[in-house]
Symmetry: C4
Subunit: 248 residues, 4 copies
């Protein structure tokens, strides 16, 4: 039996569908997803309805109207499609964070690498600190029992557990990893801002991997004669590189 | 002497050529090949004819009609070109898997790295598990005798040997590596789906390489004073970053 | 109270705003920034006024007229927006270098990796030597006192300190890193040339990371029989790869 | 005093300029160069004249007519510009190889990494063996005396020395590295084919770096329960991912 969207929500939900649709397409622009992977959701002002990408539909076949409407108990309301299988993770995070406005899940490569290695993304510098107040935590792996049970709901639970146990503020650190899985990011402003945060997370993760390689740097500088020759070949009054002027 | 395509196959083969042609072009879009590298094939419903990219022709010079028709004994039927040199690997895989619908061979960089190192791609997380049930195996190197003999046919044989000896299901693990060579992927749905799987394989391989780097992470977090300063420069009521509003 | 731009500067500043605007947009083309990150500045001929990107405004919403005008004491002149928070770093560098014409700050990934690891970019070869005469230095981390004080001004001071203590010429080495933060680059010609230098820096940093990986290269060459077979499959009179000619 | 191009060469040189110009632009498409870096040359049928990119001119400002004409003694013939500073390396290689048709020099990142580390690119697999018969050699560093003398000519000499001492065939291995510098590639067919080889070289170098990382792979596979859950969430008769059909 299908649930009906109360008429007073129709206008807000139409607008939210458009917003969530555009945020989903941005995942493709930002190269954070391929195929049908990933999903973005948004929520109505009174937090009664969530709008989210349908499960397993290609980004280039989506329309705004294809976005799926559910309530926070995961009941579906007048939708063409089933919601993302990850919807119960989203609803749990919305319920635990009464001001959260958008949630994103991707399989972006560098953030996934940290999740697969089961490590926090350390705060190595200001690019990270500008956006996340401390390390981006990696939630523990789910137990076999949690995996065999309400898996997506339990995924949300280990995120909540991690932020509570480690005393992390969802607003100051708007992203997490789940071990052996991948990243989730969110925003207290809008679905599109959550997508921007997912790109920031991926960038910071890539920088952290490169930082680790540099920390162990190996190789020998070039010889002095070569450095001088090349520098002076391009610079100074005896430079031979380039043109004095076009000849004719 | 050239073989004729029976008239009752003309329509199906024309359609299949178009499908295989579009799947081949997708390899370029996905950046899985350069130059004339790589090839995609498809098969007729009764598995009498294979359609495959011609050997050594640039992707931007191909037309659908240039696709080459062979039977599963590698006889060529009414074609402008010779088939991919790898065609005997394809036909062998089709014969061993009566429901396989498309096969792709690429030299995509991350998958080739695993093949060149002679290692399986381990299942490090859910991105992998969503698509491959267990590690993507790396078939053994061919012996000098196998290389000097029916090389491409023998390449197919070591793939079959690997899946049989390790009891791997072609449907559950729709890709393999061949040591010192590169990846093959396939689909039980269509040639285009096989190409999508080749992109998935490349993505999963790239994630695995990054995971391995992260597992050995080295470097020191930034100092606390800097982290706090940068975070508060952009966030909270004393933030100096950004605009309160456009002034005029 | 707002400062007025003297009328005799209006034309020069209008032109400079256009130049600085175009240089800022180039940061996006070169993939050196995402979101609102990074900034480029330029300076008037008599070095009385600096023009710089506004703080926290997206590149795709900028117009030339949105560029912010300040003097070298960081007073703002008739501008719609606040300047980049990093403006005091720029003005300090301009004052210390009376011929410097443009300055760029980015969070480009490879250069940031060196900054986060707190290491100079070594001169590993001629690509580096063509552009930087010796290593690109990494300035020390700021102290907690420097961070809590005039942070952006102090960032400029540690750059000046580094170049003075290590006797580095700003003209011969037109870029630096700041530990735990990121890169700054400049030019004695124009803002656009400074942006080109920021791209060069990022490229040289990426090459240095890869050089370090190669220096520690691990793996075994492919077997001789395979190398010969593949080479001869594509080359020589018995090659089977490719087409003798299109058949019909 | 300027040398005149004999009238009987005008038509051939006009055509060759167009060909060399298009090959140079391809370096940008292939992302093998930035700024004014890199250069491609070609040669007339009787090997009397070389056509090469001018020094220090941006690719987006070039026209076919800007290509520079020299003889193999490096005399310039009726040209708007000075030739690439690397021209004497090209002419030496043409003189030593009477059938060579095109030469390319780039600063592509992965090939430069091998040159900067002073290492051959090992033949790790068939992607390499399809194109280079054995490792791509890295020529020794020039001595300070060679650097201070006819530097670009001497760069050509160490390449010739390397191929002679190691008994490498220029045709079977159409590329080299020069230590502390970067790659050169060539073709016995055309300038454009030499550019294609430069892209192949860069690709093979990138694969070799990744192979080396994989050879030292570190990390632990995901747990069995998770792998099974995710695989079955997307596949098989109890899959919850995706849509059975569009609902309405």
């Amino acid at each position: 039996m299908e649930h009906k969207i109360p008429v007073e929500y129709l206008e807000e939900i139409k607008k939210l569908k458009q917003e969530v649709y555009e945020a989903n397409l941005k995942l493709v622009d930002y190269k954070l997803v391929i195929h049908t992977w990933g999903n973005v959701s948004g929520i109505t002002k009174d937090r009664k309805f969530m709008v989210i990408k349908p499960s397993g539909v290609s980004y280039n076949e989506l329309s705004a109207d294809d976005m799926v409407v559910t309530d926070l108990e995961n009941n579906i309301y007048e939708s063409h499609y089933n919601p993302s299988v990850d919807a119960p993770t989203h609803t749990l995070l919305y319920k635990a964070n009464p001001e959260m406005k958008g949630i994103v899940h991707t399989h972006s490569k560098n953030a996934v690498a940290f999740a697969q290695a089961g490590k926090d993304i350390p705060c190595y510098g200001t690019t990270h600190a500008d956006n996340f107040y401390g390390p981006v935590p990696c939630a523990r792996a789910l137990t076999p029992q949690e995996i065999d049970g309400e898996y997506e709901h339990n995924t949300g639970l280990v995120i909540l557990e991690t932020f509570k146990n480690r005393n992390i503020d969802f607003k100051a650190t708007p992203a997490t990893l789940v071990k052996e899985h991948g990243p989730f990011a969110w925003s207290f402003k809008s679905p599109m801002d959550a997508v921007n945060m997912a790109l920031t997370l991926e960038t910071v993760a890539e920088m952290a991997i490169k930082t680790s390689i540099v920390a162990n740097l190996q190789s020998h500088p070039a010889q002095e004669a070569l450095v001088t020759r090349h520098y002076l070949r391009k610079h100074g009054k005896n430079a031979t590189y380039g043109q004095k002027s076009k000849k004719h």
